[in-house]
Symmetry: C2
Subunit: 227 residues, 2 copies
DNA sequence: ATTGTTTGTCAACACTTGTACACTGAAATG
DNA sequence: CATTTCAGTGTACAAGTGTTGACAAACAAT
């Protein structure tokens, strides 16, 4: 539902390339170009709060006043972006469930798969990671909610898969997954502003995160509930 | 050197409250009010890239053109803020060294002390945490550099204090400290946008981070270099 | 006492910004 | 077919933006 639109390149309003008919579809389409425009501008080193309504419509190839047909104000657009990002996060878990746990060297392959996914959806991840701790309050809170949901789902998955060998209280599981998720979001932020085509740096980065996660899971296997 | 100025309240240019004489001192003083103005605006839910030059000078009680007497452009001001923030970070370590390790329940009391320090310097921490992953590239990189330095110093301290019992390679130590620092920066971000006067929420938050750190150190004591 | 320096001020510039209002034309509805 | 609905357009305006240049007055150096 979130990705019928695949990163269209500007000037969309009159394109009509595919065979689309209904008015509703058209509306969703330009709404999408507005969201994409915002994401693209942010990916060029800008924060959400610095974006202007006019700037976005310009990038989207639409007249400024058209913005109001889709969002009351910038905050509403921001929240829509958070929702999209949340969907992208959830999709990651769903795909992971479907693919099953990697056969050997679980952590390293998981990190690799994850980082590939981050690169594939770098706009969403850039937004989430970038706005998670700074900028607009409402958006920050919305992101926090999404990340919490993601963490809880992950905790549930780990419990069902019995990945840690012995059972743990939900509180402990959530605390561990919270640590894992924070670490992975840091990792996303790091690779996303790695200078491109630097396999050396990238390898070091991956290595560092693999070891951090190994340490976390090592701690998790030794964890005593009583603490 | 960074804190001769203690969060002055606007309209500073003509104040002349204390006995200050030299021209250089006066310059540093208004330079400080500009930096403070920027920090204050950001603490009200704005990102750095969204700040305007005029806005800052207005908040500082100074005419817009005066800005150029101190900074070539906004980026230069941002880097100055990063430097200040870096100093605040280092001061934390210095004070920790002087105070020594807390007698009992080391992790819990450390977290408490740390969070008190974060609150005391909430403007600097808000800036660092908020801009660490989003917004302007140069500033993000500068922050990363400061955080890395901080991490290295921390690793050195831990090694010298033999806090982990047995010796570890510098690489492992840095990786562990990196995890600790990331976690503490997340913690800083979390308490700083906790609604005020909510001791319940705060206690839960502190508890969560205490347990995350316990897990990390538990992992660290079991860590095998060979990994 | 007479210079030169330099921090902060003032006025003005060419632009950009968010938003209001009336309008068009094609899809939706009857 | 006639009518209504509404996404997108065009124009307009007040308010804010970064930056320039000339100027005032307090300090510094001679």
């Amino acid at each position: 539902m979130a990705d019928s639109r695949k990163s269209r390149s500007a000037t969309a309003a009159q394109a009509n390339e595919g065979t689309l008919i209904t008015r509703g579809e058209r509306k969703q389409r330009t709404r999408g170009t507005l969201l994409d425009a915002a994401l693209k501008l942010m990916s060029e080193g800008r924060s959400f709060t610095s974006l202007g309504l006019r700037e976005i419509t310009r990038e989207a190839g639409v007249v400024p006043t058209s913005f109001y047909r889709h969002f009351r104000d910038m905050d509403e657009l921001g929240l829509a972006l958070v929702e999209e990002g949340g969907l992208t996060l959830r999709r990651l878990l769903r795909e992971a469930r479907k693919a099953g746990v990697p056969a050997q060297d679980i952590i390293r392959s998981s990190v690799r798969i994850y980082l590939a996914y981050v690169r594939e959806h770098h706009l969403h991840f850039g937004f989430i990671v970038g706005e998670r701790m700074g900028g607009s309050g409402p958006i920050r809170r919305a992101i926090r909610t999404e990340v919490t949901h993601f963490t809880n789902e992950m905790a549930q998955d780990i419990q069902q898969l019995k990945l840690l060998g012995r059972p743990l209280s939900t509180a402990s599981l959530q605390m561990i997954c919270g640590l894992v998720v924070s670490t992975m979001l840091n990792a996303a932020g790091d690779i996303l502003d790695l200078p491109p085509k630097q396999p050396q740096l990238e390898a070091e980065l991956v290595d560092g995160y693999v070891r951090q996660l190994r340490l976390i899971f090592l701690g998790a296997t030794q964890w005593k509930e009583s603490s």
